[in-house]
Symmetry: C2
Subunit: 175 residues, 2 copies
């Protein structure tokens, strides 16, 4: 049997951080540039009110529909599928509006991933897979296999997990 890789969507396959950055920059009084936003996390840059205003966008219908694909994800995942059983595992349950939007997003940008290999869940510790590629240390912490931390501004200081900085690095690590 092929080894299994579970892959997170937000900030791994999809540039969700970039979507938040766009929304922030389109806001009334942005205090930072895109370059500054890409260097530090929103938690570090924004005060509590700004943070709440920005993140409530995640509950708006359509938020998950038009997020850009992370650079290199489509090519590398297609290549990973030749050697591994690849599953998409995304914590969609927290945002019920996202369920259909994420499903349609995957069908649009990753039509070669079968619905059998898509998982919407909350707690990723139930996944029985050899690898999990995720940007959130809390998901890697409870995962039983080998975790790969996909770099994002909000996990910049995390040192407990093997890190991949790009889809190119994922390919170098696993192919």
């Amino acid at each position: 049997m092929k080894q299994r890789i579970a892959i997170d969507m937000d900030d791994v396959m999809a540039d969700t951080y970039g979507k938040f950055a766009d929304l922030y920059l389109q806001g009334e009084t942005p205090r930072y540039t895109l370059d500054e936003l890409r260097e530090k996390s929103f938690h570090e840059l924004l005060d509590e009110t700004e943070f709440k205003i920005l993140f409530k966008n995640v509950y708006a219908p359509g938020f998950f529909s038009n997020i850009a694909v992370m650079e290199g994800a489509q090519e590398t995942i297609a290549r990973l599928m030749e050697r591994y059983d690849v599953f998409v595992a995304t914590a969609a349950m927290e945002f019920p509006n996202s369920l259909r939007e994420k499903y349609d997003w995957l069908a649009k940008h990753f039509p070669y991933i079968h619905w059998r290999n898509i998982i919407f869940l909350g707690d990723k510790s139930i996944l029985g897979a050899e690898y999990l590629i995720d940007d959130l240390p809390r998901n890697l912490k409870t995962f039983s296999g080998q975790g790969l931390l996909f770099s994002a501004p909000h996990n910049r200081d995390e040192t407990a997990y093997q890190r991949v900085n790009s889809w190119q690095e994922v390919g170098e690590r696993l192919l």
Copy 2:
């Protein structure tokens, strides 16, 4: 850590078979009574055309919204949650319309199940749990833990798995 139980929705928590039976009986020329429908599977009773007409209902918006709760499921699952980590694991990905409907159905009938413990997926072999309660032998076949086959007309002749005939029997087996 508590042991984990993954529980299927259709024909285990939800009386999906009963919904199909209702739809059949409301059809133009039903040839069977409800009692007859409860004894044999639709595959045995219906010809190919009848079967196709009945099962295309599953793609209609709203199909999954108003299915009755299986007798005893609410009480037994609440009791299981005291001793186990209980996850709902349903193959919703095959019917994208069902995603939100299943989410809302669970919130309505099982409000004590947290969204963290809900899993919509296709291939259940990825679940890392001690138990899986499911009506489909194909899901138990690839499951790594102990499978419990929840009785339904379509699995009547299956002998390869430990069988539970009701939620009362689930309770007797696991509590």
